[in-house]
Symmetry: C2
Subunit: 249 residues, 2 copies
């Protein structure tokens, strides 16, 4: 495989990370334009009608939803597959992906990461501590209670690393940026599962780029990532000013 | 095929309709428990962790998301497929499904149908006319502008009837319940496309059940649908009182 695919989206987005891990599992080379979705210019808007990240560009195919992108990558580059072979397990894995993308996205991204990181550092606004507090005390424990009913005692959810493991674990990297970890005395299966998934080389390879992105403002991401040797795409879709998105990611 | 699958969910939900049309295309027999998601009892909650409809039960597989269900049905009962054969077209179809499920769901269901039908008739509350007005004057035209860029001039989006046509058109049945139609002078390709999709036998077969459901309160749906010969499942998951859901559908 010689040609690269192009990705638009920040290393701090759980949905971008989901796609990058999938590319890593499949050994597909890629270049990345590391913008946060809120900072996209008009050309970005044309590529991503809802201003979501990640965007994938693979020759004549442009896609702007992480689930659609992962399925496309598996169709186009089938081995190794990130979907379980058994039809029922495949459906269960897709359900966990949906749970992660929507419910965990609401709780961990839109009510925690957005409040604590995006609002102050992208939009220069103050976070709503009441939302954060209620999310930590009520909604996040509900999410973890559910995950504990599906978490495997060892290994991954469906044998080899699949879209289910990736989609759920990616949100806990963002939780880690906020110093939120899983209480292993209360949710032992989930804590062990997520630790195993995040320890895979595909997740681990992204950690340096995430850390440096967390320490700098969005407009500096490209410069600091260049210094770290990230596989940057020379094209930038960054606008000067932040713009609110239409919808979650 | 002798055994039926079971569906939980109202004929008024665009996401339930999407699954029923898929079942119709594939000729899969089914039984339906026609509850609205907000009225599910504790057993429903166990089947659908986020209180979403539709739920599909197929022997030992229980799924609670329309996209996951449709993909499962296509995996389990492959012919005829509702996904385009070409990999790039398949991804484009899935993107349109995602656009329909999320963005059209926000606009047509959560800001129009929910306000005009669910709030007054399920929760006994007054709709917010400012939300309705803004949605009709700004957001719905934006959705239609986008659809006009992807709508086929004739036939369906990708040859035979696919998940893209189904996912987009299903929302316009709910629009029709509110007497909202597509202005064919402003969005001619979209108007023609949706008309062709809704005229298919799979959509048309559901219209009598939708109409009678629109005319009656949720607790009467089972009785009036029985009189019309709908394929009802004898098991009911209806609770006495309405409960707000965690998330959209």
């Amino acid at each position: 495989m010689s040609a690269s695919v192009q990705i638009i989206g920040s290393y701090l987005s759980p949905y971008v990370r989901k796609v990058l891990v999938t590319l890593g599992i499949k050994g597909i080379p890629y270049e990345i334009d590391p913008i946060v979705g809120f900072m996209g210019d008009d050309r970005f808007r044309e590529l991503s009608p809802l201003r979501r990240i990640p965007v994938l560009i693979d020759e004549d195919v442009t896609l702007a939803d992480s689930s659609v992108i992962c399925q496309y990558l598996d169709d186009r580059y089938p081995s190794p597959s990130i979907y379980p072979a058994d039809i029922a397990d495949r459906a269960r894995a897709r359900w966990l992906e949906e749970f992660a993308d929507t419910r965990m996205g609401d709780v961990l991204i839109w009510r925690l990461f957005y409040q604590k990181v995006v609002l102050p550092h992208v939009f220069g606004r103050i976070s709503d501590e009441a939302v954060v507090e209620r999310t930590l005390s009520e909604e996040l424990p509900q999410v973890l209670d559910y995950l504990e009913t599906v978490a495997p005692r060892e290994g991954f959810a469906f044998g080899s690393l699949s879209i289910a493991d990736i989609s759920v674990a990616t949100h806990f990297r963002n939780a880690a940026f906020l110093r939120i970890s899983i209480d292993a005395t209360r949710w032992p299966k989930t804590a062990g599962w997520i630790e195993r998934v995040l320890a895979t080389e595909q997740f681990a390879a992204l950690v340096p780029f995430e850390k440096v992105s967390m320490r700098t403002l969005p407009k500096q991401h490209r410069e600091v990532l260049t210094q770290l040797g990230a596989p940057l795409w020379s094209t930038s879709h960054a606008a000067e000013a932040a713009r609110p998105g239409i919808m979650p990611i």
